[in-house]
């Protein structure tokens, strides 16, 4: 039994039953899951969580699923690593990396899709769907395979083949849409109205989004039941950013840890930074942009949760950092060379944002800081191809020593 009460509109507060809905019929505002926190607080404890599996399902009591029949690929409870070498370089004694690149399909999207696919089965859908340029496609196709569901994955026709393979291998119907980003967006919004599919980030969105909270829970638990002083989070739709904050706060409100004082820092690439731009200019509305960035997994020009992300930055005393495009690869390289973690472009954005915050003194040396690494570098190899400079030699010792002498 879950502690879910209803869905409610984040704008006008109207309540809706637990159904596959994502927008308020009255004001078209986004819907969010509402819980009975009093009952949840009576049932939940650190001990109960610690007895759970070493996956995100250890937090099942805090998630919007009804039974114990979940779609489980072993997602979550990913490593929180103390980053001594990177920390030393940046002058930070308590820097941690949340390495979510080691999830089953190599990104944090497994978390949101785990919840969305479980909920889709509860609603008796037989098909999962999404529109994606990478990580989400793989996560949806894999979870559908695991659940025995059909899946439809819509991608722009010019998507790199490697990314298509990462989804196609799981056997979905892969649809390559000829058209620009806006046209794919428009088509998928229309298809979601036409077909009875569980479109993970459309009609399943209120449940899907809750999966991201577990990145807040896990970090707090792994830090010894406390929230960090700073969290640096990559932002596309803004959902992950706001849900990590929600995760910290729920743990505090449920009495699982002390008050949360985390400053939430939003990291975007300069070529698509509508949330950071709104924060920097003091706007309370997010102006849509046309994405033009190598950080493809962050390329959302009209972020659904942008307004709430800006609010979260302000309410927590956080900041927004838009990372120059040329520093994205530098961030990937810095993380790989200092800590042995190969992240995708979104991770490069986070590490470069972290460096900027440390250099400007926004983060103090002794403060507990967590940088979220949400995807694996093998997915965006084209971004770092320029770094590939092997020593090419003839097969003899002399050739090797000569080549080394040249370095």
């Amino acid at each position: 039994m879950s502690f879910v009460k209803c869905l409610h509109c984040r704008e006008c507060g109207r309540e809706y039953p637990i159904e596959p809905l994502n927008a308020c019929d009255f004001c078209f505002g986004p819907l969010e899951v509402r819980y009975d926190y009093d009952a949840m607080a009576r049932a939940i404890s650190r001990e109960r969580i610690q007895k759970g599996p070493l996956t995100l399902w250890r937090y099942i009591d805090l998630l919007p699923v009804e039974g114990t029949e979940v779609v489980d690929l072993g997602t979550g409870f990913t490593p929180l690593l103390k980053a001594k070498r990177l920390g030393k370089l940046l002058g930070l004694d308590n820097l941690y990396l949340k390495n979510d690149a080691v999830n089953p399909t190599y990104s944090f999207k497994d978390r949101v899709v785990a919840i969305a696919s479980t909920k889709a089965l509860e609603f008796e859908f037989d098909t999962l769907a999404c529109a994606s340029t990478g990580n989400l496609a793989g996560a949806v196709a894999a979870h559908a395979a695991r659940a025995g569901m059909k899946s439809f994955i819509f991608v722009p026709a010019d998507l790199e083949q490697g990314k298509m393979v990462g989804a196609a291998i799981y056997g979905p119907t892969l649809v390559a849409v000829k058209g620009n980003y806006d046209e794919v967006n428009r088509l998928c919004s229309e298809l979601a109205d036409l077909y009875r599919w569980a479109f993970v980030n459309i009609n399943m969105r209120p449940y899907y989004a809750e999966g991201s909270k577990t990145l807040g829970y896990e970090v707090a638990e792994q830090l010894g039941w406390r929230a960090p002083d700073h969290a640096i989070v990559p932002s596309a739709s803004g959902s992950l950013f706001t849900k990590i904050w929600k995760g910290f706060n729920e743990f505090s409100d449920l009495g699982l840890m002390g008050p949360t004082r985390t400053r939430m820092h939003c990291a975007q690439a300069e070529g698509c930074s509508p949330i950071v731009t709104a924060w920097k200019n003091g706007w309370d509305v997010v102006r849509p942009v046309r994405p033009k960035t190598i950080a493809k997994s962050l390329a959302i020009g009209n972020p659904a949760d942008g307004f709430y992300a800006v609010k979260t930055i302000r309410n927590t005393g956080g900041t927004g950092v838009s990372v120059p495009e040329e520093q994205v690869v530098e961030g990937i390289r810095l993380l790989a060379e200092t800590e042995g973690i190969f992240t995708e472009t979104a991770g490069g954005v986070v590490i470069s944002a972290l460096k900027d915050l440390a250099q400007r003194g926004v983060i103090k040396r002794d403060e507990v800081t967590v940088a979220y690494v949400t995807g694996n570098g093998l997915k965006t190899q084209e971004a770092v191809m320029g770094l590939l400079r092997p020593l090419t030699i003839d097969p003899n010792v002399n050739a090797f020593q000569q080549a080394m002498g040249g370095r």
């Binding site: 009255f26 999404c130 459309i202 739709s237 509305v285």
Partner: protein, 80 residues
């Protein structure tokens, strides 16, 4: 009849234009505003459009032609 939920984003120069009024006069479309925030420098309107699919498409093309950005009301659905 089809229904579509969209968001129009205006720059300052376009705010004085009665675009939604004209949209309803030029095309057989019913427009129904649900939320909006229009200021001196910038504005957005979330509205429902009801009509035939082809008319809505033509209407939205005309709106785009005026320089107004049109997006799905719930934000982008293509994710990374």
């Amino acid at each position: 009849m089809a229904s579509r939920r969209v968001k129009f984003t205006y720059t300052a120069a376009l705010i004085p234009d009665p675009v939604i009024y004209e949209l309803g006069k030029r095309f057989p479309i019913v427009t129904n505003i649900r939320r909006a925030d229009v200021r001196e420098t910038f504005g957005w309107v979330i509205l429902e459009m009801i009509g035939d699919d082809a008319d809505i498409d033509r209407g939205l093309e005309w709106v785009r032609g005026k320089g107004i950005r049109v997006d799905p009301a719930g934000g982008d659905v293509v994710e990374g």
